[in-house]
Amino acid sequence: MYEHDVIVVGAGGAGLRAAIAAHEEGADVALVSKLHPVRSHTGAAEGGINAALRDGDDWTDHAYDTMKGSDYLGDAPAIETLCETSPEEVIQLEHWGMPFSREDDGRVSQRPFGGLSFPRTTYAGAETGHHLLHTMYEQVVKRGIKVYDEFYVMDLAVTDEADPEDRSCHGCVAYDIKNGEIVGFEASDGVILATGGDGQAFDHTTNAVANTGDGPAMAYRAGVPVEDMEFVQFHPTTLPSTGVLISEGVRGEGGILYNAEGERFMFEYGYANNAGELASRDVVSRAELTEVNEGRGVDDEYVYLDMRHLGDERILDRLENILHLAEDFEGVDGLVEPMPVKPGQHYHMGGIETNEHGETCVSGLYAAGECACVSVHGSNRLGGNALPELIVFGARAGYHAAGRDYGEALIETGPSAAIEQEDDLGAPVEPGALGPTDDDVAADGGEKAADGGQLTGTTETVHAAVERQRQRVERLKERDGRNHAEIRQKLQKAMTRWVNVFREEEGLKKALEVIKECREEYQDVAVSDPSGTYNTDLIHTIETRNLIDTAETIALGALARDEFRGAHWRAEHQERKDDEWLKHTMVQWNEGTPELYYTDVILEGAEKTYEPKVRSY
């Protein structure tokens, strides 16, 4: 058993910032991460980080742009906190030595980005995330903060009172990947989840293989609701074989999209008669998929993005990085042939419900970064707004866990904030639990015993959690059965087919049926590698379980929300329904059965109240 004041799970941008903050506040803090910190996916971010730094810009404008971009599903207190704090956090990074791109006067550079009324995207070449991640890790090393790397967190140690709002978190259980030991981590002041995205729920994503939604799944099963899970962002230009992102810069410079027939479909088929290729991400993604679905895709899968006409010189000058990506990851020379592209999952707006201090409804449990939903992105994230979220809310969670008093939160969390309950969703299958005889839901033992009130002590709660995970691992390793990869693939395919850019009622229902099948098949899952050394088979098997749980909440939320808002498009419902849907979707784990309820969106900020308007650019 390891003991620390604050345990941070995950060492990407959000986790590192949280750890530094808790340390500054005087706490003994440890980072527990399944990857070495510098391997975290934050390193892949390219474009930049938004902050109102310059004369002529103001954080309130940033807040307005963000609220509008969110399609009025963001919470004003969170958005205002993000935009007001982002400048000092970005300058902090500069003071820590982050190698930002520079202007002639030596100040950091900023550039324009989609949906922003001022060029406020600060960047470091096309490698902003890499530099941000390394700069913060350097500060962690400087402060001597303890890092447990290659420790896979399997579960949280949460007490089991019947009402989640009465529960408290006392630590977590991790699997030491190098030697197979299962160890308890006890946290006297709090556990902060910063586990990143869950793009692996889809079979085509810009996300890393490690982005498997572990944090949301663990928090969800411990009783914390997950919020707005149906809002998943898809990016229109990713390479077909790997999902590697081809930056919007190509279309910005004049790149053209063609279908298999050689037609410039954005105009030819009237998807965006004015903006053409430069229409917003969701519009272009939908256009590409329509082409493929109507038989005009290349190899029934993708379309072409052509930049050859820009000329070698211009390409080499401004898009050199893209040439490398196309060459290295697709084997295509962008100077002589068009690049194949298709839409891919990119970012998850939804996640673990938190307030603006990073707290969840379970005391002592915090979340920050892409795994969390404090609700700054609402139904659609603006480019360059995820990185400031990591540092602003990572820091706040760290400070708060270590004892800083931020006063009463303006955002309410937990089931008591519910405004209404969804009783009959018309789902084709009973989601979640597999029947009265099996309260384990997926029968791998990764389950919380929520009988009520048996676990109330600190150490005792951690010990019980360790014991449960020990049994789980033993069971998975001893029995024979299916390999998880087959189930994971089936889940990913179903999500990409039916819960993608296009969503239809029938498809969403099919997805829920397949998710249920995956759950059933997962009952027989087994780890065939019995080794205690670096057992990735075991880890991937547990991750797959987490993906099933998060995928289900995405599909359920999408089926329930019968409107078209932001990234969430529904065939049968082509308008934004403000009267009915200015509310957050919450999914709560009720002994294995997901329960849906709603909370109010907070449009009232300290500065002003944001009136929903039509979103046009």
Binding site: L35, H36, V38, R39, H41, G43, P87, E88, I91, E94, H95, W96, G97, P99, F100, S101, R102, E103, D104, R107, V108, E127, G129, H130, H131, H134, E138, Q139, V141, K142, K178, G180, A208, V209, A210, L239, S241, T242, V244, D328, F329, E330, G331, E478, D480, G481, R482, N483, A485, Q489, S528, D529, P530, S531, G532, T533, Y534, T536, D537, H540
Partner: protein, 296 residues
């Protein structure tokens, strides 16, 4: 506590552990899951135009049958754009789920899949299978081994601790002599200075350079190209100030620092981020001379 109980406990524990070892060994041999997985692969193989052999180094100290290092060969159906990492994932997901390697980003930024492919250090995710082929394009065989000169943990996973320790040894964090007074005032840096450190800041800690370096292989204490490059990043950054630079030069010009480098360029050749490592090391040597410091 009496000795008798202890002995009995010990005997029980031993029995338990023999029992467990046997169970694990049995499990390792069980074919059912493998057969199922192979079945899935067979349809792919039938459909594929081209199939190539992926030969992979295997070793697991924890399983008696796998204690002796060996190579396993997996037939992999070739698809356009396939990388060495894709091939490894295919083999793992269709033949043997115990096949172990690190990977995450699939786009050459996380640095976790540096491997020894056909005798050279490569990032698995950045290496196209066709590029390893004969003139026809697709290779008959690809051989994948763990990075040389590093202790193998299991299959293709090597112990990175030594690499991390060397990184730590150069005090790898920014440390300005003084910061601007206003909270929202940034430190000024010229474009030229930023350009100067740009390449050094690209390092993704993959360890390929260290693994390719003969000197590092012979001298365990040599800081190695990646750590020296890290020191370069800070020493050349004008924002840090002269005092700190002096201290940094002292670190890199110690006995196992820059003077060990014999400019063989192997690190520069294998670096997947094209960092001019040897040049950076040479430049630091010159800086050290300018500072009139000792030669070893």
């Amino acid at each position: 506590m009496s000795t008798q109980v202890t002995e009995q406990e010990q005997a029980e524990a031993e029995e338990e552990s023999t029992h467990q070892r046997r169970r694990l060994a049995e499990k390792a041999e069980r074919q059912e899951v493998r057969d199922r997985m192979r079945e899935r692969a067979e349809t792919d193989l039938e459909r594929a135009d081209t199939v190539f052999d992926l030969k992979v180094f295997r070793y697991d100290p924890d399983i008696p049958e796998k204690e002796d290092p060996r190579f396993d060969t997996f037939p992999v159906p070739f698809t356009k754009g396939m990388t060495v990492l894709d091939a490894l994932m295919y083999a793992r997901d269709h033949y043997d789920s115990s096949l172990t390697f690190r990977h995450s980003c699939r786009q050459a930024v996380c640095g976790s899949d540096a491997l020894f492919v056909n005798g050279t250090q490569h990032l698995g995710c950045k290496t196209q299978v066709v590029d390893l082929g004969d003139s026809e394009g697709v290779p008959g065989q690809i051989r994948v081994e763990p990075l040389p000169h590093q202790e193998v943990v299991k299959d293709l996973v090597v112990d990175m601790e030594h690499f991390y320790d060397q990184m730590d040894a150069v005090e790898p964090y920014f440390d300005a002599d003084e910061l601007p007074s206003g909270e929202l005032e940034e430190q000024r840096q010229t474009r030229e200075n930023r350009e100067k450190i740009k390449m050094s800041a690209r390092c993704i800690w993959c360890g390929a350079c260290m693994s390719s370096c003969n000197i590092a292989a012979g001298d365990n204490e040599y800081l190695g190209p990646a750590a020296i490059n890290k020191a370069y990043k800070f020493a050349m950054d004008d924002r840090e100030g002269e005092n700190r630079k002096q201290e940094r030069l002292e670190i890199i010009e110690q006995e196992h620092g820059v003077w060990r480098c014999q400019t063989q360029f192997s690190c520069t050749e294998v670096c997947p981020k094209d960092i001019p490592l040897t040049e950076h090391i040479q430049e630091l040597k010159r800086e050290a001379v300018k500072n009139n410091l000792k030669f070893w």
